[in-house]
């Protein structure tokens, strides 16, 4: 449970913002950790053959990385009792010629959170996340419910 009182929250209040960077090495790491080895997340040729603009991040990488803002705000990751999103736009992860694959800065994902709804009876706060790459939303209806 968060360390600050539910009563202190207001709808529309910001919980903060952060950025997450993702490169090809991060995608390999996520593939191994999650068990999702779909080659569209690590093989340029295959991604192109199935009609994608390039290697793309796992939607679940972006979803998982974005909720960190809420876990840190709440003070306890287990306070996030419900979390949902729609994946609308693929996050393309480039591999520029001459770059070091594990050191390349990669694609920057912006994450901002605001309180979208408060339920005084259930003592939950719904945090609405805005998750963007170059100003375009990559997740839609990304909502995390925090239990107080």
């Amino acid at each position: 449970m968060p360390a600050f009182p539910f009563e202190s929250l207001e709808k529309g209040q910001s919980i903060g913002a952060t950025t997450v960077r993702v490169n090809r090495a991060d995608l390999v790491r996520y593939a191994g950790a999650s068990g999702d080895f779909n080659p569209i997340h690590w093989n340029q040729r295959f991604a192109g053959e199935v009609g994608l603009p390039g290697v793309i991040a796992h939607g679940m990488f972006t979803m998982g990385a974005a909720v960190q803002l809420v876990s840190d705000w709440a003070g306890d990751p287990a306070a996030v009792i419900d979390y949902q999103t729609r994946f609308t736009k693929p996050v393309v992860v480039e591999d520029p010629a001459g770059s070091n694959p594990s050191e390349y800065a990669g694609t920057e994902i912006g994450v901002e959170g605001t309180i979208g709804a408060l339920d005084a009876e259930a003592r939950t706060a719904r945090v609405d996340l805005t998750v963007t790459v170059e100003g375009q939303k990559v997740l839609v209806k990304a909502q995390a419910l925090v239990q107080f």
Binding site: R29, G64, A78, Y83, R86, A144
Partner: protein, 149 residues
């Protein structure tokens, strides 16, 4: 091959239990760049009242995607994995997942909807401990793109 509409309403029983390990939680947390100490340090997790390191909010995808694999690999489903796109995802946690848990997932195919030459399939993995306590519900919508999409 098209998606078999008779999949709707089908249930796949829980398979082998998934043993949640402390190192796996740490590995997954690092992979999603989650820095909270409760994912890594049992003492930090204990301060928050958890029995061991606590999983990040999306960790249950590991168990849910293993359950989904039963459907995707079912020769009767007609699903070509290389044409599957994750359309949306929801996790509802009934209690936190911590290291030491033994989890099983029963998969329900809630909806199969034809879309163009492909289909949108909504699955629901009901995740519980081997003792039968409800842990999480993971709902996934998978878009299977048609040959011309």
């Amino acid at each position: 091959m098209s998606i078999n509409p008779a999949l709707q309403g089908r249930t796949y029983p829980a398979g082998e239990p998934y043993a949640v390990g402390r190192e796996k939680i740490r590995e997954f947390a690092a992979a999603v760049k989650a820095g909270h100490r409760a994912h890594y340090d049992p003492a930090a997790a204990a301060e928050l009242g958890h029995a061991d390191v606590v999983a990040p909010p999306t960790f249950a995808i590991i168990v849910a995607q293993r359950a989904d694999a039963q459907l995707i690999q079912d020769p009767e489903s007609g699903i070509d994995f290389s044409r599957v796109v994750h359309a949306d995802q929801r996790f509802t946690h009934h209690r936190p997942i911590v290291a030491g848990d033994e989890l099983v997932a029963e998969l329900h195919v809630d909806q199969v909807r034809a879309m163009g030459g492909g289909a949108m399939i909504t699955t629901r993995a009901e995740i519980a401990t081997t003792a039968g306590d409800r842990v999480a519900t993971a709902v996934s919508s998978l878009l299977v793109r048609g040959e011309d999409q």
